[in-house]
Amino acid sequence: MTNRDGILRVGIKYCGGCNPEYDRVALVARIRGALKGKVEFVSAQSEGVDLILAVQGCATACADLSPFKDMDIKLITKVGDVERFIQEVNAMRLLKRDPHSHCAVIFK
């Protein structure tokens, strides 16, 4: 799931951005900064992706996620979702290092 250095590979899938309620690219830059060294961000179509971060510009969330239907997908539809996503990724990394960690409980 993670690469040899324990770094998660997160594939970014944007919606088309027709009328977004926030700056999607700036938000992803913020996430990249917060998870620097912990996560490798790649395009959603890349090989060996651990999870998909679907960056939806509004709650309509119309990005086509059908190519990723068998994968773990985390949705962001507003700026307020960022901290939750960062926490989830950090917990996921802990889980990978210690499979018995209770952090797994947050993945409902």
Partner: protein, 505 residues
């Protein structure tokens, strides 16, 4: 595949060398591909020897280039890309044939996206709408007559998709005396028609008016402009040609304030980067090989092609929602610069602008969401709702513009030029008397006013206002279609049932 089209075009010959052959061009590749064209273009009474770098035309090129640029950015690809139903390749949505309701909805969203990015007409929707209409009508002609138009069309479509071409969809004839059908006009060329049939193709003569983005296009797709009867069968013609085919001449239209683009500076143009253009396109005895002919004298299908194209193109006025986003943003900005943003009437006007703009959005999303599958497999929009949407577009941008001018104030049309702001003699006075708040640079206030001017009575008003009125058919054309498509008997039945009228008695 490319060689099969057999028409002299420097663009095609370069592509045959493989230099530009790819499924999706970048913006730079698009610009370079236009440099390979040998268009015959006239403007201000002179032939242009360099269209691409012409200061007046170039903003329109840059608006089309945006359709190529965004297609390569991950944050827009979900809208800007599609999968070809012919090749399975990833293609620019502007070359796509709609395969689902989702495709139709994404088309509307793409219009808003690009309208907001450019603040003007980006010109490429007309080709997409022509391709989709022809995908339906060529199939229907073949079903009736056993012809092979659809096969020809699909081969042509693959050529367009694989080379990511911009197509000008050319429908509007000059039309001459509106009381008379094509064959009774005093000059037979007032509607484009076939003048000769040969073993290897046809020769056509006539013109197409108001052609948006014509000289930014690699291809021109011609369609008839009205329903026709048997007497007009020579006018029931549809075909495609490279835009630089022998005998095609472009005469550029003027736009309000167009020569401001020739001035130095960055203020008075309003929109620094983007614009639109229109041209009269003359076909002076132009040869069309048979494999590019998609309708030839099947007059009873002329009306269907017009109707299908018009419905798609009326949906395409989703773009005005994106331009409306820009105008609303500009109006709010000038209200804040003026210190008037908290005045209740200003807030209410901004609310009204948003109401009008989002009502337009409702229409273009609704006609897409209520679309249907045609026998050819192509999805078409709901005709009634597309016409209702376009009818709103003939009105709402005018009201949005009125409100924007109300909020902006009279300075929008009385402010001096950028040169006066830069002049040591006058600049100090303009800075002194046109400031509103120390935190608002006076030049920023002037820039946003010039943008509102550009959108509501400058070069962009061509697209935002008059094109909204007449593009894809004038208002009366939509009212006729609304009248034809409403189910009046069902409405009457519903009313009568509620009040106890029994038609059977």
């Amino acid at each position: 595949m490319l060689a099969s089209y057999g028409i002299e075009s420097s663009k095609v010959s370069k592509k045959e060398k493989g230099s530009l052959h790819m499924t999706m061009m970048t913006a730079d590749q698009y610009e370079e591909s236009l440099r390979e064209l040998n268009l015959v273009v006239y403007m201000f009474g002179e032939r242009l020897n360099n269209v691409v770098d012409n200061t007046i035309i170039r903003p329109s090129l840059q608006a089309v280039a945006k359709t190529y640029e965004l297609a390569h950015l991950p944050e827009y690809e979900d809208i800007m890309n599609a999968t070809s139903h012919i090749t399975g390749h990833r293609i620019n949505r502007f070359t796509h044939i709609h395969q689902s309701i989702e495709d139709l909805v994404k088309k509307s969203k793409m219009g808003r996206l690009l309208g907001r990015h450019t603040g003007c007409c980006f010109q490429r929707c007309v080709g997409m709408d022509s391709l989709n209409a022809l995908s339906i009508v060529t199939f229907d002609i073949d079903t009736k007559y056993g012809t092979d138009y659809n096969k020809r069309f699909l081969k042509y479509l693959e050529y367009v998709q694989e080379n990511d071409l911009t197509c000008d969809g050319a429908m509007t004839d000059p039309k001459g005396n509106r009381r008379l059908p094509p064959h009774k006009q005093s000059d037979p060329d007032l509607f484009l028609h076939v003048v000769a049939e040969k073993e290897d193709g046809i020769v056509v003569r006539g013109a197409k008016a108001h052609q948006t983005g014509a000289v930014n296009s690699h291809e021109i797709i011609v369609m008839p402009t009205i329903s026709m009867r048997e007497e007009d069968k020579d006018y029931a013609i549809s075909f495609s040609l490279p835009s630089d085919a022998d005998g095609i001449v472009y005469i550029m239209g003027r736009q309000s304030c167009d020569t401001r683009k020739l001035e130095a500076g960055t203020m008075d143009q309003g929109n620094l980067l983007y614009g639109g253009h229109e041209a009269l396109v003359v076909f002076d005895n132009v040869f069309v090989p048979w494999d590019r002919v998609f309708m030839c004298k099947e007059f009873e299908f002329a009306g269907e092609l017009v109707e299908k194209f018009a419905s798609y193109h009326r949906q395409s006025y989703a773009c005005k929602v994106g331009v409306g986003d820009v105008l609303i943003g500009a109006s709010q900005t000038i209200a804040e610069y003026n210190g008037a943003e908290k005045a209740s009437h200003v807030k209410d006007k901004i609310i009204e602008m948003n109401h009008l703009n989002e009502t337009l959005y409702c229409g273009c999303i609704a006609c897409a969401s209520e679309g249907k599958k045609e026998p050819s497999g192509t999805y078409s929009v709901n005709t009634l709702l597309a016409n209702v949407h376009k009818q709103n577009v003939t009105r709402f941008p005018y009201e949005l513009s009125r409100l924007a001018q109300d909020i902006a104030g009279g300075l929008m049309v009385t402010m001096p030029s950028e040169k006066d702001f830069r002049s040591p003699e006058t600049g100090k006075w303009l800075e002194k008397y046109y400031q509103t708040h120390p935190d608002v640079p006076t030049k920023d206030r002037m820039h946003i006013l010039r943008l509102i001017e550009n959108l509501t009575l400058g070069t962009a008003a061509v697209g935002y206002l008059t094109e909204s009125m007449h593009g894809a058919g004038s208002p009366q054309a939509q009212r006729i279609m609304i009248s034809r498509n409403v189910n009046m008997e069902e409405k009457k039945r519903a009313a009568k049932k509620l009040c106890g009228i029994d038609d059977k008695s």
